[in-house]
Amino acid sequence: MKREMDMSALGAAAGKPHDAGPVVLHADRVGKTYPNGTHALDTATLSIRQGEFVSLLGPSGCGKSTLLKMFAGLESPSGGRIGWCDEQGRESAEPGRSMAMVFQEATLMPWARVAANARLPLDLAGVPRGEGDRRVAEALSLVGLDQFANAYPRELSGGMQMRASIARALATEPGVLLMDEPFGALDEFTRNRLDADLQNLWKARGFTVVFVTHSIYEAVFLSSRVIVMAARPGRVIADVPIDGPAERDESFRVSAPFIEYCRVLSDHLARANRGER
């Protein structure tokens, strides 16, 4: 099902942040109820534009992972619909190949070395071996793992396994990168370092990122836009553009605008908790 869409109208509806590109993903009154009765997500409507770094922020049970999985095509909505748009702006009812996903667990194949793991999506897509190896070598050096291309996953630390998982996503040269609390299982130092590395990658490559997190600090540091969600039932309660500096380093984390944004987001979440929204 392909049809032309009026991109500007969608953009006006969503609230235009700076650096707005064409819409690449959108959810139209999407809901999800599981067969066992769990009402994971109530009607959510949002659009994601090319080049944005959008965080889905909320507590457990707010439906953020469910929404991300629906964007990935791993789950289908019980109500409403999800649309994917390619570079020409044509919408399709199926996700294109230009999406990559990073999960909370590194999810590497333990029987294969790091390079073979990173090459998996390319192998599955039928990319010739030489081209695949070249792209994997580049992706591994982007995440700083070029020395470990021949190691087995069990020989790597948690942070390194996560880097390998990200390299696997980057090797496909995706237009959209979906990340489901990728650094949640790591310690704070590794997490901060990976946040900074991810941000540099995003700025250098210009892909779109949808990033699920329950950390307000992480959301403000990384994003150009934060979608705040609440639980019971899972729903979107706010859409906050983050107008931070172009170059964000550790000093941004303690600057006044950062703290203010954190306060605003925290406020939204607290009000939702008290049942005011």
Partner: protein, 264 residues
Amino acid sequence: MLKRVIDSRAARFLAPAVLGVLILVAWQVVCRTLSVPAYLVPAPTDIADTLAADGPMLMSALLVTLKITFLAFGLSVLLGVGAAFVFVQSRLLEVSLFPYAIILQVTPIVAIAPLIIIWVKAPVPAMVICATMVAVFPIISNTILGLRSVNPGLVNLFKLNKATRWQTLARLRVPSALPYFFGGLRISSGLALIGAVVAEFVAGTGGTSSGLAYQILQAGFQLNIPRLFAALFLITVTGVLLFMAMAWLSKLALGGWHESEMAH
């Protein structure tokens, strides 16, 4: 210091070997001091003498038994893996056929072997069929378990990358199943040997009449107990060597990445 000796790789071979020697020495001493007759419990030296004297005959009998064991084992692997693949791909086939596979496993081979020998006139194929019936189930069961025990995160990853059913089978399910498959091999190799011996036992003169089980039967009738023990000893050693061979294969395939092969 003692702990370092105990943990060393040499200890893994030396410890059971030392224990074995101690048991043999104790056995020999008890037999001689109590003057136990050889037709009741032969002393280790008697068994060794018999091995030397009857060596060629026992070895050719061992070869016959081994041939049946390997044929049955090979057939079990082929049938077992094939059945497991089919069951995993088709729920309907699995639900219909698995109960019969279980029936196959729990039916005592001693009861069925005579029937099979009557139906399948040729002795060697009949023995092989009996031994395969005994050895096939662990491979089916373990391989199915392995093909199904896939990391759900990896299943999602393959789905996300639009992998075909064949790609998922070859690149995800088969490697995930390997540790379980090798576990099944270790059990099945011993069972193939037992199956071969039991089948020949039960078959009596209807069987090949030339394997180790036949030698044991004959030695029993003639009250040549040292020879009986010698034949038993050969079967035991064969079983242990088969197990070690499977363990070595397992290490080859899983070493480097699976927890079961990591040094403690």
